[in-house]
């Protein structure tokens, strides 16, 4: 957000709106869509799975009928309609009530190939683009490369594909029958849709927004188990195969592991709600307040894999806990202890503790299963080193001993700042080395020059020692800014995974700016060619648009800010694991 934009807003008297009094917004002040009529709710309550739910298990403030009436909507699909596309982000799950839908798997022309085909990083690709041999593909997404169009529906504009049989004939597909739930994983985990779903014929589905799904799962154990089972059936093996530890394992072994894995969730999914208020409080107390997943010194009975979210690795230090590392999606905890115990026959406990920061989804692999299925397949060269031997005291018992030898990592204070401020959510965080930065503002000017004169970040922000985490969109792993965007204007770019805002569909509601926990999205007045703010016809107020760093996605050569820094003081870096920042700092 530019100072200019801020100044414009401050100096514009038309923006001084007299305060008004409104009722405090409630959970169901804004129902999903138009909500459901009582008779529709009654019909749904008679259908599976709602008929098997116990209404008494729901609290009076959140009754089952209320969830159905306010967190659900009925959606009718015509032949060819796209329910959702692979790579899209969605906030809702679906229950197919009538008809049939087809799941188009992303195998042919899948994500990796699709992206590789559009790669514009290499000089050859750039040359091809330049001379017109290749063109940037505005394809609707993998698995849906047919001709598409948009038509109006009861829930707004909806994409459709024209040649459904051709798409269905291409590659792998599955059929969803009446009564099946789908799209639940993306809704719960804020992950991209892993497949595309299209309607081959007319169909009706119940769309449940994620808040409703979450409450249903909390109150109904059967639904929760069903969703877990769906995950186990549909995505667990894929997820396990993508985990670095299990990459290259034969399918039958992965299948065996998937059958024995246990699911766990720690922390609150809505971590942003109370995070701001606690971010400045005492660090020691905040660490202890984080949900404990594994305690140092306890029996090491399983290997922990992080499915979603982040976790803090700590060790006891004096009377408190010291942050050693943080783990993100795909992170593994307990490997060293388990390998050591398998090798030596000892029963060494957890050497460190693991705590959930925000919301953490875990997969727990029991030690027996690890020993049976995983350890034999691990490359001996990549196994962690054995634990330090226990020192014997004069009586022959185990005395004080060194804990796990620390890897040369980020300084503890910096690590704790990153974890505490949830900066590890950033995949493209802007880090400035203040010992090198001459405050010349070349980065800001470069950003402005590539964005019609308005820079998309502030060269200020959280600092720890010489490191500043500037206020620029971090293109988060868990992009909470995308939750609630009414038009889907803010979305993840399917090619590079960046969070981008479509100016044409942004209505300036400010939901994303409010949701961003880091205040990295600003509402800026839309300017005309003369540099004057565009006013809304009805209200006479400036039309606002959400603005944030787009990492110069349309340009070549990477973000202008980083390229413009003459002193190598600024970098856009992935903080989801400490490695890249560590690498940059250590040079």
């Amino acid at each position: 957000m530019s100072c200019r934009s801020i100044n414009t807003k401050l100096s514009n008297p038309s923006l001084t709106i007299p305060s008004t009094r409104i009722d405090r917004p409630q959970r169901w002040s804004e129902p999903f869509g138009d909500g459901l009529a009582p008779e529709q709710v009654a019909t749904l309550l008679g259908r599976d799975p709602f008929c098997r739910m116990n209404p008494a298990a729901f609290s009076p403030s959140l009754p089952l009928a209320g969830i159905l009436a306010n967190d659900c909507r009925l959606v009718e699909y015509q032949p060819g309609d796209v329910v959702f596309r692979q790579g899209d982000y969605g906030n809702s799950a679906f229950l197919l009530l009538d008809g049939r839908l087809d799941v188009v798997m992303g195998a042919p022309g899948g994500d990796e190939e699709h992206a590789a085909g559009q790669r514009t990083d290499g000089w050859l690709a750039r040359l091809q683009l330049l001379i017109g041999l290749a063109q940037a593909d505005e394809n609707s997404g993998p698995g849906l490369s047919g001709k598409t169009g948009v038509r109006e529906s009861s829930t707004g504009p909806r994409m459709f594909v024209q040649d459904v049989p051709a798409i269905l004939a291409r590659g792998e597909r599955q059929v969803l029958e009446t009564g099946q739930i789908f799209g639940e994983l993306a809704a719960i985990n804020r992950a991209p849709r892993s497949v595309s779903v299209i309607a081959a014929g007319a169909a009706t589905a119940l769309e449940i927004r994620w808040q409703g799904l979450r409450d249903l799962m909390q109150r109904d154990a059967a639904l929760r188990q069903h969703i877990d089972q769906l995950y186990r059936e549909r995505s667990l093996e894929t997820h396990l195969r993508e985990t670095p530890l299990l990459r290259g394992f034969p399918p039958e072994t992965v299948h065996l592991i998937a059958a024995g894995v246990e699911f766990e969730s720690h922390g609150a999914m809505q971590w942003t709600q109370n995070w701001r208020s606690t971010a400045q409080s005492d660090i020691a107390g905040r660490i202890l307040a984080e949900p404990l997943i594994a305690r140092q010194g306890d029996y090491c009975e399983s290997l922990l894999l992080i499915r979603n979210g982040f976790a803090r690795v700590t060790r006891l230090h004096g009377n408190g806990e010291q942050t050693i590392e943080y783990l993100g999606r795909g992170g593994v905890f307990g490997l060293r202890e388990l390998v050591h115990n398998c090798r030596t026959g000892e029963q060494r406990p957890w050497q460190l503790s693991l705590r959930a920061t925000g919301y953490t989804d875990m997969l727990r692999i029991p030690a027996g299963l690890f020993e049976r299925a995983i350890r034999p397949g691990l490359d001996p060269a990549q196994l962690p080193p054995p634990l330090a031997p226990l020192k014997k005291d004069a009586t022959g018992g185990s005395g004080t001993r060194r804990l796990v030898g620390r890897k040369k990592g980020l300084e503890t204070g910096l690590l704790e700042t990153i974890v505490q401020q949830r900066l590890m959510n950033g995949t493209e965080a802007m880090v400035i080395d203040l010992n090198r930065c001459t405050r010349c503002d070349d980065c800001v000017r470069a950003c402005a020059a590539t964005h019609e004169g308005t820079p998309r970040f502030l060269r200020q922000g959280l600092t720890h020692g010489q490191w500043m985490f500037a206020q620029a969109c971090m293109h988060c792993a868990d992009p909470v800014c995308m939750i609630g965007c009414p038009t889907g204007a803010i979305a993840r770019d399917s090619n590079r995974g960046l969070i981008t805002i479509n100016d044409r569909t942004c209505i300036g509601c400010g939901t994303c700016a409010t949701s961003c926990p880091y205040s990295n999205i600003q509402m800026t007045p839309l300017m005309d060619r003369a540099g004057k703010p565009v006013l809304a016809r009805e209200t006479g107020l400036p039309v606002l648009k959400a603005a944030k760093c787009d990492l110069c996605i349309e340009g070549q050569g990477g973000p202008a800010c980083q390229r413009a820094c003459p002193h190598d003081a600024l970098i856009r870096v992935d903080l989801t694991s400490p490695g890249p920042l560590q690498e940059w700092i250590n040079g």
Partner: protein
């Protein structure tokens, strides 16, 4: 999370050292080639200064081109500013050597040539000064607790002045308020001295804080609380002034360097015109 193809960008500062190494090597090679070339020409009764002058001219134009590169940040093929900076620094040093070679390591005789030489040396000296302060001063800035944007300083200063005024007015007595008006208000209202701008120090801040502390035994309890707040605001103001002085030096240095470069380019162009006009068919 689905991240299909991350843009490939250097993370490691391995490239950091490589850039510096290659820049040093390239400019050293250029200077060595120029020295050998002029010597070779001089030994054959040619004009070595012609070659060194042409190379020097090209280097000066390249050095000035760094400014032009900043005008086109979105043009990928122009390379990164970091590469340019390294080449700029090394070519600047090379230019000083080439200049010595060009003038035969002696002071020029003519008035215009002297003016040109002074202009060149001042530009070079300002460049070296800039290089030094751009390495030293950022560390001093980052050691201050609060980081501020230079353009925000006047606003923040005004806020601190208002806050200090409000704090001084707190409490039941008038001792602190009177002390504030007589000894502290000027610190918040007036700009800092030129001496502070050139060599910022915490002397004045310490003196004011000591003055407030010495007042402590005359204050009422509410005033005592206010005086502690006031001391904190004085320190914040001093940090702000420190930032302004240091950042100002980093900014104004660049303005001076660019102005000197402009003068140098004009004089150098005139020099080239005169050399060509009075070459007498040589070259």
């Amino acid at each position: 999370m689905s991240r299909l193809s991350k843009p490939v960008r250097p993370i490691s500062r391995g490239g950091f050292w490589a850039r510096r190494g290659w820049s040093a090597l390239a400019t050293t090679g250029l200077v060595a080639a120029c020295v050998l070339g002029t010597r070779w020409l001089d030994q054959r009764l040619g004009h070595g200064s012609w070659l060194s002058g042409q190379v020097l001219g090209a280097v000066v134009v390249f050095l000035a081109g760094f400014r032009l590169r900043k005008l086109f940040p979105g043009v990928a093929w122009l390379g990164t500013a970091s590469c340019w900076m390294q080449l700029h620094a090394w070519c600047g040093i090379a230019a000083l050597v080439l200049f010595g070679l060009h003038v035969g390591w002696s002071w020029p005789n003519g008035m215009f040539e002297r003016l040109l030489a002074v202009s060149f040396l001042l530009t070079g000296a300002s460049g070296v000064y800039g290089l030094v302060i751009s390495r030293l001063l950022p560390g001093r800035l980052s050691s201050v607790a609060q980081q501020v944007v230079y353009e925000h300083v006047p606003l923040l200063r005004a806020r601190l002045a208002a806050k200090s005024w409000q704090i001084a007015g707190q409490g039941s007595g008038t001792t602190l308020a009177r002390h504030y008006v007589n000894h502290v208000a000027a610190f918040f209202q007036l700009p800092r001295s030129m001496a502070f701008q050139l060599a910022p120090s915490a002397r004045q801040c310490k003196r004011i804080v000591a003055g407030i502390r010495a007042l402590d035994r005359y204050l009422t309890e509410p005033e005592r609380t206010a005086s502690r707040e006031l001391m904190q605001v004085v320190r914040e103001k001093d940090d702000l002034d420190y930032h302004r002085a240091i950042q100002g030096r980093l900014k104004w240095w660049l303005v001076g360097h660019l102005a000197l470069t402009g003068v140098l380019l004009v004089l150098a162009t005139l020099h080239v015109v005169m050399v060509v006009a009075f070459a007498g068919g040589r070259g």
